[in-house]
Assembly symmetry: C2
Homo-oligomer: 164 residues x 2
DNA sequence: TATTGTTATACTCTATAACTATA
DNA sequence: TATAGTTATAGAGTATAACAATA
């Protein structure tokens, strides 16, 4: 049986849409890497949001715990700079972690303007759980890419971000 | 003279930060392609916004004109689907183009629910100007990548988007 | 004078629901 | 009943400015 086709505004065309009005997106992303990048990120972000929905930490909170675990106590300013999260957003992020008992805002010993955001003992298992979920999250978001392609993607993004 | 260093919360460390509290972002994007992708897109989007600031068309309006020019009159629904722009956003996009006299909302001959969004003669030079700016725009956004790397990026984004 | 944390505001994107007119 | 266009609203993310405490 014929699949229900949406009405077409131009020639019904004998061939199966050989100009590609119904595949125009494909053409677009092949000639505009900027559009392709933005649309792909929208898709990846949606997958991430779904994946994080049932978990205890937001992505930002996860990254904060990870950085504190990796480098030790930090000021909110340092966390903001390195994680590329605005300091006005970082406030609420740390609020949530403090309410959950995962970090404490201690005073910086030599600069009383800044906090020394510090992990509590309760943070370790929560961070471990979040880290354990990362591979599955990446598999959902980048399932279409091989391991080598993911490494290539990482390298290209690194160049755009001017790191490494 | 010594550059003014921000106060550090942990060991002043003899080596130049060999754990990398000041380069943590670099470490992060190398192990998290999802974060790298999102941060790179933020950067690219900022460049695009700056580039488009002084121009007559928004990115969405540019893409609409381009698609109409490539495939002929379309319904707003078709434009929304192929350009991945929500139909509620497409309304204002077409409004702007109509106010500028670049498109007309004609009635679809066989479906009076839909419009046949149609280019006016005034559209051609405006589209041509916008298209002419694309290479420069891409050079600014992806200046860190070689031509081959841009093609690779396009291919990877295509796989994520499941096109091509 | 500059910086840290904080609050407030604004603007864009995205998502959703509802409504109308048509089919 | 389903779809096309429209409007309104709500939520994230980002950007900005201002303020108090401190340097």
């Amino acid at each position: 049986m014929a699949a229900p086709q949406p009405a077409r505004l131009t020639s019904p065309s004998r061939e199966p849409e050989a100009g590609g009005r119904d595949r125009y997106f494909s053409k677009l992303v092949q000639e505009r890497p900027d559009i392709a990048l933005c649309r792909a990120t929208t898709l990846v972000t949606r997958t991430l949001d779904e994946e994080l929905a049932g978990r205890r930490l937001t992505m930002a909170q996860h990254l904060v715990l990870k950085m504190l675990s990796d480098v030790g106590p930090c000021s909110q300013q340092e966390l903001s700079e390195q994680l590329r999260i605005d300091r006005s957003v970082m406030v609420g992020c740390i609020d949530g972690l403090e309410d959950s008992g995962l970090v404490r805002r201690e005073r910086h010993p030599r600069d009383r303007r800044a906090y020394a955001v510090t992990l509590t003992p309760e943070a370790a298992p929560v961070l471990e759980e979040a880290e354990g979920g990362v591979p599955h999250l990446l598999d959902r978001a980048f399932g279409a890419l091989t391991a080598a392609e993911r490494r290539t993607l990482t390298r290209l993004m690194g160049k755009i971000l001017d790191v490494g």
